[in-house]
Amino acid sequence: MARTRGRVIIVLVTLLLVVPACGNAKQTSGTDAAKNVKLPTDGGQQNRAVHKEISGVPGVTSTEIAYGVVGTKQNNPLGTCLLDCYLQGINAYFAYRNSQGGIYGRKLVVGSVTDDQLGNNQAAALAITSGNKVFGAFEAGLLQQGWGDLNAAGVPTYMWGIDGQSAANRDALFPSTVIGCPDCTRRVVPYAAQLAHAHHAGVLGYSTSQNSQVCADSTAASFKLYAKDTGVDMAFLKDDLPYGLANGIGPEITAMKKAGVDFIATCFDLNAMKTLAQELKRQGMTNVTLYHPNTYNQAFVKAAGDLFEGNYVDVQFRPFEAATNTALTAFKTWMDKAHATYTELAMVGWINATLAYQGLLAAGPTFDRTKVIAATNHLTNFTADGLIATVDWSKAHTPYTQAARGTIKDLECGTFVKVVNGQFQEVGNKDKPWLCWPNSDLKWSTPVPTNFN
């Protein structure tokens, strides 16, 4: 009868819904296996040319090691060159290493390129994990939905490090920039303000993105912390602007004008920096120095005319304007050979590819994904041959907070360039472009110019 059938069904439904109270599955990942792998003894430069037969490793043939590249091209709201530029950097590095004979008798190649069209990052990542055609992945997507899947599948993945949260606690993920402590204070921005002879700082961020909001808050905290030392006080903070500044930024600038702000640090994208600079100009605040987090884009800055003149622009790696070292020379040489422009994303691709290569090297000639992840996570002094500040991959996956910061031994470093006549220019020591402070001691001190060659 219908009535009995109905009862049976409701009982079934109830069961189905109650039984799951069993619990939640733990994220098992390929990286768990990596934790138990012993570091091989046959890795390293001296064994680089050793060719051993490997079977059953995805993307690896007797002549090639293939990687998949995923990035955003279509629907990129920023309108910047992401996937294409990123790919140029990876290809340049691969060409550079292949010209030296590759590694373990194999060439490094890009096996697949996928435009995630902003929204399809997870599908693109899964195509890599399930396709079994590539050994590792490179990621320069604006939305990082696929990172978890790549990590879970144990695919060594190298990415543009724009999102700390998606990389946190995921051992197979290797971002170009490690955001280990999003809420930590940084000395480099107050230092830049001091350099600009500023007195009152303003800080702006978006509410749309947690990254941006926290970045603004920690920058503000930095100004406050070092106000006495730098002579720059924290005069204005607004960390809740709508993404893209659709309502403009007039009232905020007016308020800053009143507060006598002469230095503004933001956590904006490059387009919003232009809006900001235009509004400053409108309100006659042409003597204000801006500190840009995401504007290391020569074409963009040049096109803006004199809007950004005298501004500081944060750089995540050894700036192109610094004195060249071996790695920067190689980068420029191989980018030139491909007739490609030096862009931020190309450098990110190059740095990512460098880690992929060094991880392979550390894993030894009988490498597989697990071994590469494990070996990479044993690299305690990775600098991409002097292109970035030291990363200790054995610790970099674990985020920490300002409170727990004292136990962290490494350095707090930053580097920035200045816009002079529309061109980026190195500010400090051309050979030692980084300004570093000890991470364990939060007291103000004069930064130590550093390089990581």
Partner: protein, 261 residues
């Protein structure tokens, strides 16, 4: 129910309604007993429809009181008045698109019983039961719609649609049925048919009728008592035959405005 035979089921006292400063209904009192057949006539713009809407709760009254079986329903919405026994039909037909004839009655029956609940639906107990179908089919038989029970309501003629509205209203077991220009759009024969069927049903079920109508012949055939509205005021009331014969009514229909107090 407190309404006895001599106490009217529907009672409106001092109902007034104006739109944008123009009085559509002026302090009107009416009373209709259950089982009574009453006509409401008047020239175009006399305020019939407005009064009707005030009684039904479609528009709020400015002043006055509407009672059903002695209960003040002036502030109640349409559906709660319906549940208290006030059924209606529409001049512009208001059927449920994409429902069959029987479904119209079934949903009315279900609503009257008030035993529809989400959990019952989910358990598959929301489908029509045999006794519900039986009740519906009885009414359909009464209205001569039995053969059309499974037809989509879009396939009905206008006259059949009117009857279906009557049937739908009857499922709620109304004590008073308000008929809004039931003859509009029908030709003479159809109107006669409709009147006959309505009368049969009324005798069978014993509900009262308040009929708004411009077809004087229909009114005189169908109703015992008649109210005449002109310019928002009640100008005459009494047995239908007498009222229709009165000078005041003739004058109003001929267009001599508002001379009768």
């Amino acid at each position: 129910m407190s309404a006895t035979a001599d106490e009217p089921f529907l009672q409106a006292k001092g109902v007034a309604k104006s739109f944008a400063g123009i009085m559509a209904v002026h302090h009107v009192d009416i009373a209709v007993a259950a089982g009574e057949r009453v006509g409401l006539i008047g020239p175009n713009g006399a305020g019939k429809t407005t009064l009707f809407n005030c009684l039904l709760g479609v528009v709020p009254v400015d002043r006055g009181v509407v009672q059903l079986a002695g209960e003040d329903v002036t502030r109640l919405p349409i559906h709660l008045r319906a549940r208290r026994g006030l059924g209606r039909t529409f001049q512009r037909i208001e059927l449920f698109a994409e429902a069959t004839v029987r479904e119209h009655l079934l949903i009315a029956e279900r609503t009257r019983r008030g035993d529809g609940a989400l959990w019952k639906d989910l358990l598959g107990r929301g489908r029509p039961k045999a006794d519900e179908i039986e009740r519906c089919d009885h009414i359909l038989g009464l209205l001569g719609l039995a053969e059309l029970a499974d037809a989509p309501s879009e396939h009905l003629s206008l006259g059949q649609g009117r009857l279906l509205e009557v049937g739908r209203a009857l499922m709620t077991e109304p004590r008073l049925l308000l008929l809004d220009e039931p003859s509009s759009g029908l030709d003479h024969d159809e109107t006669v048919d409709l009147g006959r069927t309505l009368r049969d049903a009324q005798i069978d079920r014993g509900f009262g009728v308040l009929l708004v109508e411009h077809d004087v012949e229909f009114v005189s055939d169908f109703t015992d008592r008649c109210l005449v509205l002109d310019a928002g005021r009640l100008i005459a009331e009494g047995p239908t035959g007498e009222v229709l014969a009165s000078d005041a009514v003739r004058e109003a229909y001929l267009g001599t405005m508002g001379t009768v107090a």
